[in-house]
Structure formats: C-alpha cells, structure tokens
C-alpha cells in the first residue's frame, strides 16, 4: 500500500464548481494572510502600502470565491464558516502560498511565481462558462496584472541591485522553486471542469509561465535554481507544517466565540 501522502485523493464531497472555487479561494486567502504579516514591518513605507494593497486584492478575491463555494455547496456555509471553521486538512491551497513570509527576497520570489501563474489562470477563467467564476476572474485579472508588475520590478532591483541583494533574491528563489510544480498539477477535478469549459487545466499554463518567468529572471541576471520539487499535495489537503500555525492564529478569536456576530 502507498502511504496516504502519495495515494490518490478521496472524492470530494462538494460539487465540482464549489471545490474548484474553494481551491482558488484558499490560495488567495492564505497568500493574503502572509502578505498582511508584512504590514508595519516592510523595508520602506511605500512597500507597507503596496504589500497591504496586494494583500487586500487577494483577500477580496478569496471572499468572492469562498462565498461562491459556499453558495454552490448549499450547506449554509458562508465565507467566514469556510475560512475560520475548517481544519488544515480541509484547506486545499497550494503549499507555495503557505510558506512563512521569510525575508523580502523570498516574498518577492514567491510573488513572481504565484502572480505570474495566477494572472494566466484568471485570464483563461474569465472565459469560463460559469458566469460567476468568469466575473470574479475578469475583475481579479486586472488586479493581478499590477501584482505581476510589482514582483517583476522588485526582482529586477534585487537581482541587479547589489551583490547582497542578488544573493538574497537567489536564496528566495531556491526556497520557493520546489513548490512551483504544484501550480501546474492537473487532477481529476480540473480535468472534468476543463472539459466542461468551467475550469482551467493548470498544466496548459506551464509553457507560457516558463517563458514569462525565465524572461524576468534573465533580465534580472538571475537563474532558475536547480532544486528538487517538493512532494506537493496541497489540493488534497496535505500541507507543510506551516499552515497549521497560520490557521491557529487566524482562527483563534473566531473560534473562541462560536456563532456570534462580529
């Protein structure tokens, strides 16, 4: 028998569109949280503003996607029930977004990888036959275009700036690169939804993503690191040890007062 870390996923109990919206919503929710950790601690005031802005965009996307997942599921769970009352094994975000914020080099490396992917994903999802997903994606794609620009501009500055910043940007890329493959993993859910014209097959984004990211790295005098891919599994609820701590913090107050209005 294979261990559960490598087994195929159990069938989700949610309708496909709900499970899919939840995945994308969890990615946005968790990365928003990591970026919000920078607020009041950024390298300069302009970055406090910028990182807060990106965090807010992602949080807005997460709220729309989680609310939609709850509505499609039809079990009475709203955005807060989904964000605050699920345990880590029920979160379906990719592992890349849950890694600790690290230094500014890691944060920018992750933003470059994720925003580039997310923009390509949303651009295609805007043509979804599911009108709600299409609407959310079309609005979000415009926001993420700025996130890509922010990450690109900083990658250039850190890559080309000083020897020290080059080394730290490189270390950031080494830390996040093992988690890049997971961005493009298709599975039975995305296969079904892509066939129906509802969702996007993430594996078809890889070529365009490689070209875009390689282009930025080249201009920044950086190289793609040679690292082994991580085990992955975020879409199946298998996470790094970091997500549990993030959720313990995020959910503590909400769970201490069950059922109340905030």
């Amino acid at each position: 028998m294979r261990s559960p870390f490598f087994a195929t996923p159990p069938a989700t109990t949610m309708p496909d569109a709900a499970a899919y919206a939840l995945r994308l919503g969890d990615d946005a929710l968790v990365l928003s949280h990591r970026l919000a950790e920078w607020v009041a601690h950024a390298p300069e005031l302009e970055e406090d503003v910028a990182l807060a802005n990106i965090s807010l965009d992602l949080l807005g996307q997460a709220r729309a996607l989680l609310a939609y997942a709850g509505a499609v599921e039809g079990a009475g769970r709203d955005e807060d029930a989904l964000a605050y009352l699920r345990d880590d094994r029920a979160f379906t975000n990719m592992q890349l977004v849950e890694l600790p914020r690290g230094d500014f080099g890691l944060t920018i490396a992750r933003q470059l990888l994720f925003s580039t992917y997310q923009r390509m994903l949303y651009a295609r999802l805007a043509a979804s036959s599911d009108e709600t997903l299409a609407g959310i994606a079309a609005k979000a794609e415009k926001e993420v275009a700025y996130h890509v620009d922010h990450a690109t501009q900083w990658t250039l500055r850190l890559g080309e700036g000083t020897a020290g910043s080059h080394a730290r940007m490189r270390a950031g890329l080494v830390a996040v690169w093992p988690y890049a493959d997971e961005l493009f993993e298709a599975d039975p859910l995305t296969d079904r939804l892509a066939a129906e014209g509802v969702g996007v097959d993430p594996s078809c984004l890889r070529g365009e993503w490689d070209a875009a990211v390689d282009g930025v790295l080249r201009e920044a005098t950086l190289e793609r690191p040679e690292v082994r891919p991580a085990a992955g599994g975020g879409r199946r609820g298998l996470h790094t040890e970091h997500l549990g701590h993030l959720l313990a913090e995020m959910q503590s107050l909400h769970r201490a007062h069950p059922g109340v209005t905030w």
Partner: protein, 308 residues
C-alpha cells in the same frame, strides 16, 4: 520687512507656502510638529497591525488592513509636507529611531483584545480628529492641505471603530465585557492625547499666535468629551468616570481630568510598550536596509546606462 509680510499674511488667515519667507522658529516648530505627527501614524500601525492576523471575520480583516494601510499613507503625506520645510524623510526617521523626536504617546499602550481595535477607532481616532480638524486651517499650506485628506479618512476610521464596539456591545455577554474592558483601558489615555492642561503646556502660546494651533488643549479635550458621552450611551457602554455629568450652566459635560503624571511618564519612555514600539520600527528599518540599497544601486546603474 519680511517679518512684517509674514505677520500680515498670518493675521489675514492667508496660507504660508514653502517658498515664502518664514521665521526660523516657525519653521522648526512646524518640522517638529509635522514629523511627530508622521511618526505617530507610522508607530500607530503597530498596535492595530497586532490584530490583522487574528481579525475575527474576513470583512473585519479587510477593513483593518485598509485602515493600517491608510496610516502608512498618512505618514507618507506628512513626511512629504515636512520635506517642503527643507528636511528629508531619512533624517526624520533617524531622529525617531534615536529617540530625539517623539510620537503620540497613545501608541505606547498595548492592544490586548479585539475590542481594542474598536476602542482605538472610536476613542483614539475620535480624539485625533478633534485635534486635527482645526489643523485643516493651519497657517502652513502644505500641512493644512494634507490634513484635509487625512481627516476624511480618520472620520471613516472612527465610524468603523464605533461600529465594532456597537456590534460587540450588542453581542454576547462575553463580547460586551470585552468591549467594556477596552473602553475602560483606552478612555484615560485618550483624554491625555490633548496634552497637558493649557497652564502647563509649553508650546500652546506661540503656536496659537502663528495660527498653527487654533484652540487650547483644554478646549479641545472638552469638545471631545462633549462629543463622546452621548456616543457611549448609544453604544450601551459606560465611560469609566463617575464624575461625568451634564453641567447646564457651562453647557458642557463635567469630567475628571486624567492623571497627567502618567502622561509625563509615558512621554518620558515609561509606558507599557515604548521600548517595543521603537525596537520593532528599528528592526523593520534595519532589516529593510539591503532592499533600499538595492533599489538605489539599481536606479544608479540604470541612470548610468541611459547616460552612456
């Protein structure tokens, strides 16, 4: 001659602009005040930022991130306003980190519960607005104009704080107790935000003559109390002062003065969080130095390439 023109301009309620002649003491008073105000916005991000990662709903989380982001924005405008007086932001930040310029002592108190986020919005931002609205008419143009936008945003902040407390105050007994506890802790420090009584204030006289300051500390404190007492009733929360009573003869609420010895102690560095607030700011500044250096080096390389 120049002094005369300046005096006439101030007397006529005209604005003094960056290129106008101004007395050295006017310039240095403004630099001190605007810098202190900017530093307060930046340090003030910490006590509220403390609850971003634990905000109890996604809507509250979004509002809180946006609010703390506004404060960073206020800091930016204010540093820019100070720069029109011939200092630069880096210099001012160094003075803050060296403890040679102050920030509002209110931010040396800790945010212990979620309700503190409501109390800061309602009381601390409410007191700040009371202090700041008159600054929109201050004699120095760039400061006055910055304050117009800041006051609009602060007014939104105050309403969201009120709304947090209203929701808690009308919630479960546990939520209501959390709200009352926060109001009990933040009331006195909020009253202290208006500074010492006028009789003991070192800056009030000259600043009033220059029309930087329009009202005395005591008058503004009274205005804040008069505004806040009916709002506390609407919240269903008590202010922790048995001395609050309507005085028909004065047309104001009577209230107990805060302990100004505590204010002095906190200003002198002995508040609950003084050391921590500066340590956190210093750490962010030092940890970010390599990023700022990289941006500067990149800009220089680019400029060199374009020149070549």
């Amino acid at each position: 001659m120049l002094q005369l023109e300046f005096d006439e301009r101030v007397a006529a309620d005209d604005r003094v602009e960056p290129r106008d002649w101004m007395p050295d003491a006017y310039r240095s008073t403004l630099i001190r005040q605007i810098a202190q105000h900017a530093h307060s916005e930046i340090i003030g991000m910490q006590p509220e930022g403390n609850w971003i990662t634990r905000a109890p709903s996604l809507k509250r989380k979004a509002i809180l991130i946006a609010k703390v982001q506004d404060e960073a924005g206020h800091g930016l405008y204010l540093y820019s306003a100070a720069e029109t007086l011939g200092v630069d932001r880096d210099e001012l930040v160094e003075l803050l980190l060296a403890g040679r310029q102050k920030y509002s002592s209110i931010f040396n108190y800790p945010t212990l519960t979620w309700a503190d986020i409501g109390a800061i919005g309602w009381l601390v931002d409410g007191a700040a607005i009371t202090n700041q609205v008159p600054l929109c008419r201050c004699s120095y143009g760039p400061y006055a104009r910055a304050m117009v936008r800041i006051c609009k945003e602060e007014s939104f902040h105050q309403r969201q704080g009120f709304e947090i407390l209203y929701t808690l105050g009308h919630g479960t007994p546990g939520q209501k107790a959390m709200a009352q506890d926060a109001v009990d802790r933040w009331w006195w420090p909020s009253l202290m935000m208006f500074g010492p009584p006028d009789a003991a204030s070192t800056h009030t006289g000259q600043s009033t003559a220059w029309k930087i300051k329009r009202f005395g500390n005591d008058e503004l404190r009274q205005r804040f109390v008069d505004m806040t007492v009916p709002q506390a009733d609407a919240l269903g929360l008590a202010l922790p002062d048995d001395g609050i009573a309507w005085n028909a003869e004065r047309g104001h609420y009577d209230f107990t003065e805060p302990d100004y010895a505590e204010l002095t102690a906190v200003i002198e560095g002995n508040g609950p969080c003084n050391a921590e607030r500066i340590a956190v700011r210093r750490a962010a500044h030092e940890d970010g130095a390599w990023v700022r250096e990289a941006a500067a080096a990149y800009a220089a390389k680019r400029a060199g390439r374009e020149a070549a």
